[in-house]
Amino acid sequence: MVGEVEGRSKRLACGRALVGGGDVVGVVVKVEHPLSFLGEVDPLKGTLYDGRSIKNKVLVVKGVRGSTVGSYVIYALRYYNNAPLAIVVEGEADPIAVAGCVMAKLPLVDKTGPLGLRDGDEVLLRFTEGKGCILKVGGVDLKTSNRTAEGS
């Protein structure tokens, strides 16, 4: 599947792979503000504060903040089988997200810079040599106007 989608992909950026894993392909859920896992994520339902589901999605957030109990919330997402496929932080991750993702064995990439992604976009997250690269493989723009591969 990965090879198939890569052919029509658009490479957006590479960030720092803090917790690595294999390649991930998934649909984006985007949070436009620094996310506090404690209080803004419900691990029992796998939803965000506004009801959007993050289960088996690629959670892309502008940044992270909040109580240190947040690490346990990330672990709880895994424990209740509601974890996202990966977390991408456009800005810098913090110790809470890092500890939580190590505990939950959840791929975590940060420092990608603004990716211009929105809900429903489909991305490929590829881990190589300490980096996590995000390739857009589906979504509104790709489907309508840009299906040719770019970059590498």
């Binding site: 917790v19 240190t68 109990v69 690490s71 810098e92 110790p95 890092v98 505990m103």
Partner: protein, 381 residues
């Protein structure tokens, strides 16, 4: 990050899954914070111990560490839990008790001292320059400010990882260069009571949010400082202050300081009377022996209201005489817990008068009616 060969082996899992996971947490968190290496610590203190805080997933994580062979490699202590295990003063359901006991058993199996206190410095007082990995914001700021030890505010899992590895990443307040003042607080009045100091700390935390303020005051007693620092760490994100005559020399640097004034008007609005309270509460952070003696001297006859004092279980054992005297005067003790981490709202308690602005901060956020009273007011409750 530069790791020793031994650290590399631990990271790769040669010494078991638990140590490997602990190392991964420390190395990755260190990487994010710009650390170049790990450094040895003398004492880890884990927060996030209450079942109310970490729940079933937390139990599961701690038990998975035990299964992975986790053992602490330095002296390690734990924070208060969600109820008093020695009495039925705080009512919780059976499921809560079971979950909490599993948490404590996991910590015990790893070799933690299940001290159940937010004041680990009363159990073993760290010396200046000692490196620690402490959770519990009130203990962190006390260690950095009063004792001159070096610690960041570690989240629960990071402190557990540090206890297992016996190490912490070298970043933040572990580096002298970062222990530099950036504001100077001038007090417009002289607080005379633990609760007044506590309110001052609350106002400081609220005003400056983060950073390292320098407080220009004649050194207050340590007990008063404890309340002040705890409140500033709750209302703001403070992990350290500098107080000349208190903070050990050479454990800090002076930087460019912004001036901040705190006056009596900034704190007075937090105070009320004991009369309307369902509960009068002292001991956040946990009371010292000296505070118990002071309270015992202040209470002449008997308190009429519900008065609770939170203490560490070990202090309770040690302070037998004063505990007996206070108990006779109607004071009740809560051991190994406090109002911040226990579900007291579920017991029908709505109005709380307390000497602690840290308790004030957290109970207000939980929607309770809460205000400050001075210690002498507690005596007349």
């Amino acid at each position: 990050m530069m790791l020793t060969k031994e650290e590399e082996r631990a990271l790769s899992g040669e010494y078991g899954e638990a140590l490997s996971q602990a190392m991964r947490i420390l190395v990755k968190v260190g990487e994010v914070l710009g650390a170049e290496r790990l450094v040895p610590i003398s004492h880890a203190h884990a927060s996030g111990v209450s079942y109310a805080t970490i729940g079933e997933p937390g139990v599961h994580w701690l038990e998975s560490l035990v299964k992975g062979g986790a053992k602490v490699s330095v002296y390690s202590t734990v924070n208060p839990i969600g109820f008093d295990p020695y009495s039925d003063i705080i009512k919780v359901d059976e499921n809560f008790v079971k979950g909490q006991i599993r948490i404590l058993e996991a910590f015990e199996k790893m070799g933690f001292d299940t001290s159940l206190t937010c004041t680990p410095y009363y159990l073993r007082e760290p010396k200046p320059f000692e490196r620690l990995a402490w959770g519990e914001s009130s203990a962190v700021i006390y260690a950095n400010t009063v004792l001159g030890a070096f610690t960041n505010r570690e989240g629960g899992p990071v402190a557990v990882a540090a206890a297992i590895a016996g190490k912490i990443y070298e970043a933040g307040l572990q580096v002298l260069e970062n222990r530099r003042t950036d504001s100077r607080i001038r007090l417009g009045f002289r607080p005379t009571d633990a609760a007044e100091w506590s309110a001052v700390g609350y106002a400081i935390g609220e005003r400056i949010g983060q950073g390292i303020p320098r407080l220009e005051v004649p050194p207050p007693p340590r007990d008063h400082l404890k309340y002040m620092l705890a409140a500033s760490a709750a209302s703001g994100g403070l992990a350290m202050m500098v107080i000349e005559g208190v903070t050990p020399p050479k454990t800090y640097l002076l930087g460019e300081e912004e001036k901040v004034e705190i006056g009596r008007e900034d704190v007075e609005h937090m105070f009320g009377s004991v009369e309307d309270a369902d509960l009068v509460f002292h001991g956040c952070p946990h009371a010292s022996l000296k505070e118990l003696v002071e309270l015992d001297n202040l209470i002449k006859e008997k308190v009429e209201k519900e008065v609770w004092v939170a203490v560490a279980p070990r202090l309770y054992e040690r302070a037998n005489d004063v505990i007996k005297s206070l108990s006779k005067k109607g004071v009740k003790f809560v051991r190994g817990t406090c109002l911040v981490v226990s579900p007291i709202d579920k017991m029908g308690i709505r109005k709380v008068a307390t000497t602690s602005a840290k308790t004030y901060f957290y109970l207000k956020r939980r929607g309770l009616d809460v205000w400050l009273v001075r210690l002498r007011d507690v005596a007349s409750a």
